[in-house]
């Protein structure tokens, strides 16, 4: 915390990164990670999500869970923008090695309150090196 911030008694938000590396449904990690993100959104921290390895499948288009009797939670990612969670870092190499492109993922957007509420994409396509950089900048890294 900076000295100036201490003086005002106001805490500087911490940078939180939620790392998603697992596919949805086979295990509960993706769903329960999302529940943490939703609760965490109320705490006014600087939140980012990372999707790499099989985690990119959490954002895949065309999920239909009727046949497995489980709740589909993919739509919830699209609602996160309303809670101020607007940075979804998706790793290019992870998509490529799984035969996916950005077009295979859901469109996720947010309204930028600092820019006349313009609708902007939440997904930020990054290289592995760029994602490593994002990881290195964090204060708290949560993985499940």
């Amino acid at each position: 915390m900076s000295e100036a911030a201490k003086g005002t008694g106001k805490k500087v938000p911490k940078k939180f990164l939620y790392v998603n590396r697992k596919a949805p449904y086979g295990t509960i990690y993706a769903l329960e990670a999302l529940e943490v993100v939703l609760i965490g959104a109320a705490f006014d921290q600087d939140v980012s999500l990372a999707f790499l390895d099989d985690g990119v499948f959490q954002l895949a288009n065309g999920q239909d869970t009727k046949g497995i009797g489980m709740k589909k939670f993919a739509n919830t990612y699209r609602a996160l923008g309303d809670y101020g969670v607007t940075k979804f870092y998706v790793e290019k190499e992870s998509l490529q090695s799984r035969g996916l492109t950005l077009g295979d993922l859901q469109e996720i957007t947010y309204e930028d309150e600092n820019d006349d509420f313009k609708e902007k994409p939440s997904i930020i396509l990054v290289s592995r090196a760029e994602l490593s950089e994002v990881m290195a900048q964090q204060d708290v890294v949560l993985s499940f």
Binding site: I28, E32, I39, G40, V141, L142, F144
Partner: protein, 132 residues
């Protein structure tokens, strides 16, 4: 330094809660503070007082309860994860009509919300995650 620990797996199937226990002991031995230990996903099962491991095996629930008592640790079991998996305290058992004596939360543990996990991230100097 202020440490917090997140445990994402239950006892016995995965080593995570064992490693977390040894790590927490080491944190305390080194004179650091443990702000909180948060149990999430199947990790909530560590907080069941109904486990009966064989006598020649370690008792993870008891080890955590004892450590909590000795060092006044705050062991928090996530309420949403716990409800899914049948870990209840007196209040929750009553609220969900599970009958008298259904509460199974072990001594030294308390049930609370995910906000407690976020708070760990905000207020601790270090947050360490154990899982699978």
């Amino acid at each position: 330094m202020k440490f917090s620990i997140l445990v994402n797996e239950g006892p016995y199937t995965h080593q995570a809660s064992d490693t977390a226990l040894q790590f927490t002991r080491a944190v305390l031995a080194k004179g650091h503070e443990v702000m909180r230990v948060f149990f999430y996903h199947d990790g909530v099962n560590v907080g069941s007082r109904l486990t009966v491991p064989p006598q020649d095996d370690r008792n993870l629930q008891k080890s955590w309860s004892d450590l909590a008592e000795e060092h006044k640790l705050d062991l928090v079991v996530c309420i949403a994860a716990a409800q899914r998996r049948g870990i209840l305290d007196e209040g929750e058992a009553k609220r969900h009509g599970k009958g008298e004596g259904a509460a199974n939360l072990a001594p030294g543990f308390r049930i609370s919300g995910l906000g407690q996990l976020i708070e760990m991230g905000i207020e601790s100097d270090r947050l360490v995650v154990f899982g699978d």
